[in-house]
């Protein structure tokens, strides 16, 4: 049931129109960060306010919403955001990736391949991929305008010189359609290949930083690399999921005792549970 004290999907209509205009421009310029006048939401900045605003602007009553954090449906912030939309939009919710029409996520892309018609909404803390090289917005904006990504290339190459590889495990920068360098949000670089040519629409919301950006379906997304040091997605080496046995999924390491014991399990809880269910059927 929708909470009658609030408008459908919480936001007022003027705010939704503002968000929707920004979303359309974001889709029209893949990878470019569109400034939008982010609103204060009833959850803190940094806890998914950008994703929540994007989801609120997109939801229709017929949607089925899935919310994950770290790949899991039952992590506390995912639970909190899901119950927010149950309350203010009255939409159906699901844990099944395939059944969701809108998926809001923090830090993961589901293992189950997304299909056409789905919308994946990412929560983004720092949307600017150049921010850690140059803290000033006034500078990074010019770098994007001039397509001047030399500083990023230099930094990545310094990593190789120092560590033998690019020392970035997550929020690994990508180039979109050969033009804008984009932060894919803090997903592990294991997930980067899923961004490329996805049939789903991928939307990114950064509330505190007031930025929205997007990847339309079937958009070319390349992880930055060098010819002699090609990008490699990575995960826990040589491990399978201890619960479902999956070998190709991203794994969390769980400490099982105080004697150094540990095990590896799927971070995508729906993927893991579905595999267990299918195996026992």
């Amino acid at each position: 049931m929708t909470d009658q004290a609030y408008n459908f999907a919480y936001l007022d209509e003027a705010t939704k129109r503002m968000l929707r205009r920004a979303l359309l421009k974001a889709v029209a310029i893949p990878g470019y960060q569109v400034p939008f006048s982010s609103r204060e939401m009833p959850m803190p900045y940094g806890w998914g306010t950008g994703g929540v605003q994007v989801t609120a602007a997109c939801l229709v009553p017929e949607d089925t919403l899935k919310v994950i954090d770290q790949g899991a449906d039952d992590t506390t912030n995912a639970v909190s955001i899901r119950s927010f939309f149950e309350k203010v939009a009255g939409v159906a919710t699901t844990e099944a990736t395939a059944e969701a029409s809108v998926i809001q996520t923090r830090h993961r892309i589901p293992e189950t391949p997304l299909h056409a018609g789905q919308i994946l909404v990412f929560q983004v803390p720092i949307p600017e991929p150049l921010r850690f090289l140059e803290p000033r917005e006034t500078e990074t904006r010019v770098m994007h305008a001039l397509e001047d990504y030399g500083l990023m290339q230099v930094r990545l190459y310094e990593d190789i010189a120092r560590h033998g590889e690019i020392a970035r495990a997550y929020a690994y920068p990508v180039k979109v359609e050969g033009r804008y360098v984009m932060d894919p949000s803090p997903i592990p670089k294991f997930d980067n290949p899923k961004l490329n040519m996805s049939p789903a629409l991928q939307l990114f919301g950064a509330g505190r930083e007031c930025r929205i950006y997007a990847l339309p379906p079937f958009t070319r997304v390349e992880s930055l690399d060098f010819e002699d040091y090609p990008f490699t997605p990575s995960k826990a080496a040589g491990q399978d999921c201890a619960i479902c046995g999956a070998s190709g999924s991203y794994l969390d390491e769980v400490i099982t005792d105080d004697a150094g014991g540990r095990m590896f399990v799927c971070s995508d809880t729906d993927y893991c549970a579905t595999r267990v269910q299918e195996a026992s059927a």
Binding site: Y6, D12, P35, S37, S38, R39, E40, P42, P44, Y45, G46, W47, D69, Q70, D74, T75, T76, N77, A78, V79, S83, R106, H107, R108, P125, R136, E137, T138, H163, G164, E165, A167, R168, A169, Y170, A171, P186, P188, K189, F190, R208, C210, R211, S234, A236, A237, I243, L251, D252, E253, V254, T256, A259, G260, G261, R262, M263, S267, T269, C272
Partner: protein, 362 residues
């Protein structure tokens, strides 16, 4: 067999029930009324109104109660409520020179028309704990003058008459609104002042202090500090006249700062400006000093890279709802990213020939 942790929803519900109980505290102690907070913790209420950007003492008192006295949490409650409110229009500028004064002091003149009015200040109190307050001592009413103070002109207007004080240009066009448009740089002064007015008192205090200690020094005096009540009015085009609809308490500070002059301008004094909801003079003075520091470039001063002179730095970090939200979000699970780092560090250690961590999982 390992079983993944479940039950996030129940854990959240239980935590919130515990929060409600903890807020109430010992049930043998009478519950605090929001009217008591409004009347007796008025400066906390004022701070919540100022940084929450919403003038409503009753709501601010409620927010403080709900937040268990946590100022920033209370500000957050007010901001989240404020953003859902419809906008009916824009008021006319308030006339602070017509203010009904409760306090008005100047450090730059011994006396001035309108006089020095100390008002309800902590200044010159000896900071000795008053155990009588704990014992419930009755406070006798303060003596009151027979007549209210006349409105007093701004003290800096006397300097302006001599041409010694730099005049402020009339604002051109609509005032920007950072709650409706994302911050953009360079930010004009009206936008900077708007951000500072709702900025965190502690952050602005530290920045202002840093200018006094030499990080962007600009030699500030408190030209005038005034606290009092102003009337708020709006133009109603349908009616064809202005209508007064509210009274609010404001604190205003104008700092007097030196300016060496330039080839085109003779030496004169310049101004920093602070204006804050309620009685918040520490905030108003801090704001004036930071405002003046942010004008360093336009004054042609040597911009030394001091934090208080850097508009992008100050404005991007002065909002305590943004900063506390982002700071505290690192409490949220980050184990996916941490796992990715873990793998990377292990791999780099292996590549560097460092001893492998004994693998007890095998």
């Amino acid at each position: 067999m390992y079983v993944a942790v479940k039950g996030g929803a129940r854990a959240i519900a239980n935590a919130h029930a515990w929060l409600d109980a903890a807020r109430r505290g010992d049930r043998d102690v009478p519950e605090l009324g929001t009217d008591q907070i409004r009347e007796q913790l008025a400066l906390a209420v004022d701070r919540v109104m100022a940084e929450g950007s919403l003038y409503d003492p009753d709501l601010a008192a409620l927010a403080l109660k709900q937040a268990r006295g946590d100022t920033i949490e209370a500000v957050f409650l007010i901001r989240a409520y404020r953003t859902t409110l419809p906008r009916f229009g824009v008021t006319l500028p308030v006339q602070t020179d017509k203010m009904d004064l409760s306090r008005r002091i100047s450090a730059t003149y011994k006396d001035a028309p309108g006089g020095q009015v100390l008002g309800p200040t902590f200044d010159y109190t000896h900071r000795l704990l008053d155990f009588g307050l704990a014992a419930g001592r009755e406070v006798p009413p303060a003596r009151q003058a027979d007549t209210a103070l006349d409105p007093a002109p701004h003290i800096l207007s006397h300097l302006g008459g001599e041409g010694l004080m730099q005049a402020e240009p009339e604002g051109a066009g609509a005032v920007p609104d950072l709650t409706r448009d994302p911050l953009e740089f360079p930010a004009e002064r009206a936008l900077r002042l708007q951000a500072l007015a709702r900025g965190d008192e502690g952050f602005l205090l530290s920045l202002a202090y840093s200018t006094q200690r030499g990080y962007g020094r600009n030699h500030a005096f408190v030209g005038e500090l005034r606290i009092g009540t102003v009337r708020v009015s709006a133009q109603l085009p349908e009616l064809g006249f202005d209508i007064e609809f509210a009274e609010i308490v404001l604190t205003e500070c104008e700092s007097v700062n030196q300016f060496q002059g330039s080839k085109t301008e003779p030496a004169q004094f310049t101004r920093g400006y602070g204006l804050v909801f309620g009685q918040s003079e520490r905030k108003a003075i801090s704001m004036a000093l930071v405002d003046r520091a942010l004008r360093a470039e336009e004054m042609g001063e040597d911009v030394s890279g001091a934090p208080a002179q850097d508009a992008e730095f100050v404005l991007s970090h002065c909002d305590n709802i943004q900063s506390s939200g982002f700071l505290e979000h690192i409490k949220l699970p980050h184990y996916v990213d941490f796992q990715a780092e873990l793998e990377l560090v292990r791999k780099m250690r292996r590549a560097a020939g460092a001893d492998a961590v004994p693998d007890a999982a095998e």
